[in-house]
């Protein structure tokens, strides 16, 4: 379902061209649990942004569910991110002024779900991550682990097939890390494809495949 063919990603900084990804070829099948790892600056996050359609390759081809992403409009990419992919970030990326419930409702708002339905589904998603009793708390009123659960609820609320997580436990203590990873494992058992980036070698055991990167190249997949 995910196929990368000779993908390169370059950035321009101070009139220099930096290579973030170099000739990356990768295939990820439906229902896989993939860990991407590698040292800082190896291109893990860049790979993730391309896989998540947050950015497009400078060259090469990315095919997602038979659709070539390079030739897709920004409007269509927004729809793909909304319906097919759920994102979880290291810094949670919740909107600070919104309650847990409103944060979870946002993807449904962009999907055009009616208000009453939105609230019902958001509450269900919140219960699914074990936070059913805290719908009206603001992010600042919750612990890191709780915020990440809200972020996961937001990621799954539109029922996407793929969950992409960029160091999802990077800001959490050990206990919360285990809770969050267990949640991902649970989502994986439910049939979803999970792709996550991590530095933490202890978490690699959750994955059924590890992709290792160095200097923008895949050295082991």
């Amino acid at each position: 379902m995910i196929k990368l063919y000779g993908v390169n990603k370059f950035y321009e900084k101070d009139e220099k061209i930096l290579t973030a990804l170099s000739d990356v070829n990768l295939q990820i099948d439906r229902g896989e649990f993939i860990a991407i790892t590698g040292p800082s600056g190896s291109g893990k996050s860049t790979l993730l942004t391309i896989l998540g359609c947050l950015d497009t390759p400078s060259s090469g081809q990315y095919v997602l569910n038979d659709l070539s992403v390079e030739n897709t409009s920004e409007f269509e990419l927004a729809r793909i991110r909304n319906k097919q992919i759920g994102f979880v970030f290291q810094s949670f990326n919740l909107i600070p002024g919104y309650t847990a419930l409103r944060n979870i409702e946002l993807p449904m708002l962009y999907a055009g779900v009616a208000a009453a339905n939105r609230e019902k589904r958001a509450l269900l998603a919140l219960s699914a991550v074990g936070l059913g009793e805290r719908p009206y708390h603001l992010p600042a009123e919750m612990s890191g682990g709780q915020q990440q659960r809200v972020a996961i609820a937001r990621a799954i609320v539109n029922n996407p097939q793929i969950i992409i997580a960029d160091e999802p436990t990077g800001s959490l203590d050990d206990e919360s890390t285990i809770e969050i990873m267990d949640l991902f494992a649970q989502l994986h058992r439910g049939g979803r494809t999970i792709i996550f980036v991590t530095h933490n070698m202890n978490l690699l055991s959750y994955a059924n495949r590890v992709v290792r990167l160095a200097h923008g190249n895949i050295i082991d997949a």
Binding site: L54, D55, F75, R79, R81, N93, Y110
Partner: protein, 412 residues
């Protein structure tokens, strides 16, 4: 665009977080809208007042009198007003197809005379007229009756007084018909009292030359001529059959007069049409100046909104990234920021309308005129604020919409 209600809620939350800057922009726009509204009210109400008050002269009214400023030295030496009783009678009988009715006006240079009753007196304008005068001048009577033709013919010492004259001389007395007033030791019997005429607005803008229609005493022109020992008529007052025919009627009257006097005199004419044009020009000037001022205030307010929205886009870059990551399209982001900008502007517009109403009340209290706001002015105020919001928010909103999600998420 999905769920407008939720989007409005989002816009409101964002605005709350930037209170001071938002307030400044709201004030800027409010001042502009208040100015737009004030100008609208002033010009619309002004026009209404002027028309209503000009109607009190009769909209088809015209005036013909000798041109005393004529620079021909021979004509200057000629005595008399250039219009006589014979002229009037001849013209009345057969002159001008476009003239509906005609009345002489006889007066002296010294317009105000003492009108007395016992020990009380009032200084009033005295004018001698014919039977048709009240109709031409759009006058109506509160009490009594108009002159009879026989009273004009027989130079009767009867008088119709203005409401102010009645109040000054008789106070609260209800019936003054048949009572006698004295003017230059001549006794005049009151046969009518005129209804009050409102010309406050024209007086306020200096268009009445200090002339107060309510402080008049009207007598038969023939009687006044007898008192003055002259056959002169100082002004011919006429009413044209139609508004269109005003100029032709003036032409017919002056041609007939010139012919009767073998071109010895030049005549000057006035019509309501001319007055209306002048007052409209005054209102237009007010309107242009006011609109320019309002425009400056709106631009300042608009720049404030632009500033707020530009800062908001920078400060909320990460939020834009999050929204895009979870499925917001460029159109969604564009709409969100435009909505916020329009929201601020509409609040500014509403505050401006409230300012405008306060100014309106202030103007009513200060001037004593019952100015009325037209709904169209409110509508224009709101429309202008929406337009300011869209224009000021467009560029920042476009910038936000164009960001790539990855780039926006990297922003700290």
């Amino acid at each position: 665009m999905h769920n407008l209600n939720e989007k409005l809620k989002q816009a409101f939350s964002a605005i709350k977080e930037n209170r001071t800057r938002t307030l400044m922009s709201i004030i800027g726009i409010a001042v502009g809208i208040a100015a737009v509204m004030t100008i609208g009210i002033l010009t619309q109400s002004g026009k209404k007042f002027i028309y209503t008050e000009l109607e009190t002269y009769g909209l088809n009214s015209l005036w013909v009198y000798r041109n005393w400023q004529d620079d021909n030295p021979f004509e200057q030496q000629r005595q008399g007003s250039g219009i006589t009783t014979e002229d009037y009678q001849a013209l009345k009988k057969d002159c001008c197809s476009e003239v509906a009715s005609l009345s002489p006006e006889v007066y002296t240079k010294e317009w105000f005379k003492n009108i007395r009753v016992g020990n009380s007196y009032v200084k009033s304008g005295v004018v001698g007229v014919g039977v048709s005068f009240l109709d031409i001048n759009n006058d109506s009577l509160r009490k009594g009756r108009n002159f009879r033709p026989s009273e004009i013919r027989n130079r009767k010492n009867v008088v119709i007084i203005g409401p102010k004259v009645k109040d000054e001389l008789f106070g609260d007395q209800v019936n003054v018909i048949g009572k006698v007033v004295k003017f230059d030791n001549v006794q005049l019997t009151i046969i009518g009292v005129l209804k009050e005429k409102k010309r406050d607005f024209l007086s306020a803008i200096g268009a009445t030359d200090g002339y107060d229609e309510n402080n008049r005493v009207i007598i038969p022109y023939s009687f006044y001529q007898q008192l003055l020992g002259s056959k002169d008529i100082h002004t011919l007052r006429a009413e044209a059959r139609t508004k269109k025919g005003v100029n032709k009627a003036l032409d017919q009257l002056t041609t007939a007069l010139s012919r009767r006097h073998n071109n010895q005199f030049q005549y000057q004419t006035e019509s309501m049409k001319g007055w209306i044009k002048t007052t409209e020009q005054v209102l237009q000037t007010i309107s242009i100046l006011g609109t320019a001022g309002a425009l400056v205030a709106l631009i300042v307010g608009g720049i404030g909104v632009f500033n707020i929205m530009s800062s908001a886009v920078v400060e909320r870059t990460r939020e834009i990234g999050i929204r895009k990551a979870i499925g917001a399209s460029p159109q969604d982001i564009m709409f969100q920021f435009l909505l916020e900008s329009v929201y601020i502007s509409i609040i500014g517009g509403i505050v401006g309308i409230i300012f405008g109403v306060v100014i309106l009340i202030g103007m009513i209290l200060w001037s004593g005129f019952m100015l009325s706001p037209a709904w169209s002015v409110l509508f224009v105020g709101l429309l202008v604020s929406v337009l300011v919001g869209i224009s000021a928010g467009y560029l920042p909103a476009r910038k936000a919409a164009k960001m790539t999600p990855a780039e926006a998420l990297r922003f700290d």
